[in-house]
């Protein structure tokens, strides 16, 4: 609660990012950019078949290449104790047992690793490694394999969906979304160096250094503290860095083999099968409402692709239980194993997929009922409590998001009937959709180091993957200490710093904010203890009694009587003050439910002759509680909205069933939006603190920015053209033939 006692005036916030200058001047070091003495390079060789068994691997030609230092295969490798046998591999839950199996599960699966003095030598030598396989039947076509798995219940039924038979209007439809690939700008990379036999140092691209540390401690059977993981700058993640992937292990094995530091950076084509992706999905929705628009119930069925060596369930139907109240609900799901690598969480995982189907169906229903899609949603929002758990929402302003967004886009300009707004070959339409996300919080730690001159260094192991964690920590530290921002330095993304959860699931700021507040409280108490030697009154001071500023510390009740930091340091012969504190969720989680939400509005132009869709306007209004750093938050939202444009209009990882291969797995073949495809995204926030979630009152925003965007776009295309397109991405061909 201490935080709300502090003045919190963001109008004074110097915007930007603490790491901004380093980033734009090239001073910031990404994983692959560190200079390490004696560094050599490793390049992966992928399987050329999608299913089968390796019969033999020929490395003779590769070994002839000058500069080659070693080659790892499943036959010749340094020992990884955590993968010593089948049982241990299972127990490790690492995913692909890289170099510990002769089985091939997908095309591109690493079968060898070539280590050489230079990247060029390693790359060339890797191209000379060949293998023979016993090929098995392969399946990579999700839609073709769909029917082979049956649905099972996804959570408890509510009521009885037989009630849908009595609904005034129903929609029953299927929705298909192609696989999408994260493709952060920075390719995944690791530099591994064994400092001693049991001591490892890693520069690694990931979203959580402590997760990397724990994973390798287990695999190599060494203490967690013996592994240092540095991920100070992360060039985007979108979920691809939430797991520890096989290439990082391969790099560590290589360093062990050649007894030198090794760098392994994935190539862009390797990124498509090495670090997860959003799996292809199929959904069927049956949704019904009474004539007055009250929902009767929903039947939501979903399947998503997975690999043959792991089961990844996206949780597509989870969002069905979050936004609206349904008296009758049934959800079912299944996963479809394919000869592809394992998918993983990608921005708005599950919810983003499920929400597309639900929000498309609601839009379709609104036309059938002849009720404005906004009104239809408003009638059915679960605004008081979480519809599944029954807990009251701590805060839920999704209705305000809708109202504000409707105003911003001039929703009244929308025609209630489709195809009514025409300008030459172009048809204009408006669409909207909402999204929500269970707002979480994890336990995180932060530390503060304070110097005599009143400067602070605030530290955490948490990574900043571009989300603005650093600037937000600075803002929170500034607001709770009164110390000028220019005197607050942020250090993060290093496992030697106070531990924190991974940056993901919209939990980052929600988790670390409380830790910074707790560390500030600890700092104030420590300062008060030293001040007590000068002024007895400080002896029993609580953190809430203490005011800090660049002038020193004081009692709140007598705030002009500052004891300067200089005198405090000199009197007590201090060098540096250090505190560390943890903070996490508590009993409020039993009392309340928490969600972030957003409403997305879109105005499109659709060319009837060419099928081209142009997004004219995209408005996104979100409830992320108190906005800590508006620029960073808005940047999150517009980035997510552009991701939503990609999902809606162009992102698609094609596969070839006959050859068992990904098709077009590079930036020319896999399209995500460029600036020309996106208008300036119009972002607004409700900006009301959630008083229960964490001390700073902020709820995570990363996911809700994309949950609902694709449906808003598809709904706008329908409003423009009368074409209800239920398969993503909506490329020009689908518009034309739809």
């Amino acid at each position: 609660m201490g935080f709300f006692d502090e003045p919190f005036d963001l109008t004074t916030a110097a915007e930007g990012r603490v790491e901004g200058i380093a980033k734009v001047t090239g001073g910031g070091k990404y994983a692959a950019e560190y200079k390490v003495n004696g560094l050599c390079h490793a390049v992966l060789v992928g399987s050329t078949v999608a299913a089968g068994t390796i019969l033999n691997i020929n490395t003779n030609n590769a070994k002839q290449v000058a500069g080659v230092l070693g080659i790892i295969t499943h036959l010749q490798k340094p020992l990884v104790p955590g993968m010593a046998n089948e049982e241990k591999i299972k127990e490790a839950r690492f995913g692909l047992p890289i170099f510990h199996t002769d089985k091939i599960y997908f095309k591109g699966q690493p079968i060898a690793l070539v280590i050489a003095e230079t990247l060029e030598d390693a790359t060339y030598a890797a191209s000379l490694v060949t293998a023979e396989y016993k090929e098995d039947t392969k399946i990579v076509d999700f839609n073709g394999a769909l029917a082979s798995v049956s649905l099972t219940p996804a959570g408890k039924d509510r009521g009885d969906i037989a009630a849908l038979n009595n609904a005034a209007q129903t929609i029953e439809a299927e929705y298909n979304i192609k696989a999408e690939v994260h493709n952060p700008m920075e390719m995944h990379a690791t530099i591994a160096e064994w400092i001693a036999d049991d001591k490892l140092k890693l520069f690694d691209k990931n979203q959580g250094v402590n997760n990397v540390q724990r994973t390798f401690a287990k695999l190599f059977n060494i203490p967690v503290d013996n592994i240092e993981v540095i991920s100070e700058f992360v060039g985007g993640g979108f979920g691809s860095g939430l797991r520890v992937w096989p290439h990082a292990l391969a790099c560590i094995m290589a360093a062990k083999l050649v007894k030198r530091p090794v760098k392994l950076m994935l190539t862009r084509p390797q990124m498509f099968h090495s670090v997860g992706y959003r799996p292809a999905s199929w959904q069927k929705i049956k949704l019904g409402a009474n004539a007055d628009g009250k929902f009767v119930g929903i039947h939501h069925q979903a399947k998503n692709g997975t690999s043959f060596y792991e089961n990844f369930n996206e949780g597509i139907t989870r969002v069905t239980r979050l936004i609206y109240h349904f008296d009758n609900l049934k959800a079912e799901a299944a996963t479809v194993p394919l000869n592809l690598s394992t998918p993983t969480w990608m921005r708005g995982p599950g919810d983003c997929t499920g929400d597309f189907a639900i929000e498309s169906a609601i839009d379709e229903l609104s036309y059938k009922l002849n009720i404005d899609p906004i009104d239809l949603r408003m009638k059915n929002l679960a605004l008081a409590k979480h519809p599944d758990s029954g807990l009251p929402w701590s805060t839920n302003y999704i209705n305000e998001c809708i109202e504000k967004g409707a105003q911003m886009i001039n929703w009244k300009d929308r025609k209630a009937t489709h195809s009514q707004n025409v300008n030459g070959d172009w048809s204009i339409g408006y669409g909207m959709a909402v999204g929500a996300w269970n707002a979480g919080r994890g336990t995180a730690s932060a530390g503060i180091q304070m110097q005599k001159d009143g400067t602070l260094t605030v530290q955490t192991a948490m990574t900043d993957i571009g989300t603005g964690t650093g600037i937000s920590m600075q803002n929170i530290a500034h607001e709770s200490t009164g110390i000028s921002k220019s005197k607050i330095k942020i250090e993060l993304g290093n496992s030697n710093l106070p531990p924190a959860p991974s940056q993901g699931g919209s939990n980052g700021l929600s988790s670390i904010g409380g830790a910074v507040v707790a560390a500030v409280a600890a700092l104030k108490l420590k300062l008060a203890a030293y001040a007590a030697s000068q002024n007895e009154a400080y002896k029993n001071a609580t953190a809430a009694d203490i005011l800090m500023s660049d002038n020193g510390i004081s009692f709140k009740t007598a705030n002009n009587q500052f004891i300067s930091f200089t005198s405090l340091w000199e009197k007590n012969k201090l060098a540096i003050l250090e505190v560390e504190a943890s903070s996490g969720p508590g009993t409020e989680r039993q009392k309340y439910a928490f969600c972030s939400s957003a409403a997305h509005f879109c105005k499109v132009r659709v060319n009837r002759k060419t099928g081209k869709v142009k997004i004219e306007r995209l408005v996104t209004v979100s409830d992320g509680g108190k906005i800590i750093s508006e620029k960073a938050a808005a940047n999150q939202m517009s980035g997510a909205a552009v991701g939503g444009i990609g999902m809606a209009l162009m992102e698609e990882q094609a596969t070839d069933e006959r050859l068992g291969t990904l098709v077009g797995n590079d930036f020319a073949g896999y399209h995500f939006p460029v600036n020309a495809d996106a208008p300036i995204i119009e972002v607004a926030f409700i900006n009301k603190p959630d008083p229960n979630i964490n001390p700073q009152g902020s709820k995570g925003l990363g996911e809700v920015g994309i949950i609902g965007t694709a449906a808003a776009i598809a709904n706008a295309i329908y409003n423009a053209t009368g074409k209800r397109l239920r398969d993503l991405p909506i490329t020009p061909d689908k518009v034309l033939l739809g």
Partner: protein, 325 residues
């Protein structure tokens, strides 16, 4: 990539003297370097020809000459091109990305290889990459493939936008051989159809270099358009593209040009539709009739039937845009 020797030539004859079966020329390298990284091209030596060939745009007695080493960006910004051959600039700017256009040369643009995904995936059969291995696209992902002029050996399309405009404008290509002799090939005869030799993209002799492109003065600087339908608005190859141009006498079309990218193994001229447009009134009905002529004998693949209505729409759109370029 495979290690290679690198040298620079400052004159065409010097470069030609270095050429043998394991040598390749490099200019901007925006396609070749990709091909080398993927082991599709594995030259033992590379000869940099950026100083060996003209990099200027110059007037000639009959029109204009574009040096083979003129990069895409200056080509699109050249005042004479913009004033007299604006279709060329429009097509160039529809292609690639600014970074690539800053590097890519005019000659290289003509010689770029197809972007068929199977051509780039060395683990799959491809007759163009490995003659006789088969065509993966015919039974595979052929959304981007040809709808006209293809064979049972190859259904790849030529990726260039510039070439579509040059074909429409009846440009010619000046070729220089070892002896310094110049020869001219008409643009529409330069690129080939796949037939039984899909590995050959064009008719450039093995011992020759593209010296320059020539375009004659024409009457197409006023009513012209380049329409490119693609999956995203920059850095994407055409699903279909249309270069259109005509000159008018009042509202009567005197002469028309109509060519497409994304439909065939070479830039494709719609000659019958051009013929139809001659003497007709420039209006929507005429444009639709011309589009219908263009699409009448097309044979799409399993996944690109959409290209027919899309092409029809793109031709109508382009012809309409010619009225208000």
């Amino acid at each position: 990539m495979r290690p290679f020797l690198f040298s620079k030539s400052s004159a065409a004859n010097q470069a030609l003297a270095k050429k043998n079966s394991t040598t390749q020329y490099i200019a901007g390298g925006t396609n070749l370097v990709d091909l080398m990284k993927k082991h599709i091209a594995e030259p033992e030596s590379l000869v940099d020809i950026t100083s060996a060939l003209p990099a200027k745009i110059e007037p000639t007695a009959k029109g204009i000459q574009i040096g083979a080493m003129v990069r895409n960006t200056p080509l699109a910004n050249d005042p004479t091109i913009l004033a007299k051959y604006p279709l060329v600039a429009k097509a160039v700017l529809a292609g690639a990305s600014p970074q690539i256009r800053n590097m890519a040369s005019t000659g290289g643009n003509l010689l770029q290889r197809t972007r068929c995904p199977y051509f780039y995936d060395v683990t799959t059969p491809c007759n163009k990459r490995k003659p006789g291995s088969g065509c993966s696209a015919i039974q595979g992902e052929n959304r981007m493939s040809a709808i006209v002029g293809y064979s049972d050996q190859c259904i790849a399309v030529h990726p260039s936008d510039l070439c579509v405009a040059l074909a429409a404008l009846d440009a010619s290509i000046k070729i220089q051989d070892k002896s310094g002799k110049m020869q001219s090939i008409s643009f529409t005869d330069f690129h080939r159809l796949p037939g039984t030799t899909p590995e050959r993209d064009n008719n450039l002799p093995a011992n020759a270099l593209i010296h320059s492109i020539e375009i004659n003065e024409n009457a197409f600087a006023k009513n012209y358009a380049y329409v490119k339908v693609r999956d995203r608005d920059s850095y994407a190859f055409a699903l279909v593209s249309v270069a259109a141009a005509f000159n008018l006498n009042g509202d009567q079309i005197v002469e028309a040009r109509l060519a497409s990218g994304g439909v065939a193994h070479k830039p494709w001229r719609w000659l019958e539709a051009e013929q139809y447009l001659k003497g007709k009134t420039a209006n929507a009905a005429t444009f639709e009739a011309a589009a219908n002529i263009a699409i009448k004998d097309l044979r799409p693949q399993t996944h690109n039937g959409f290209k027919i209505p899309m092409l029809k729409g793109a031709i109508e759109t382009a012809l309409q845009q010619c009225l208000n370029p």
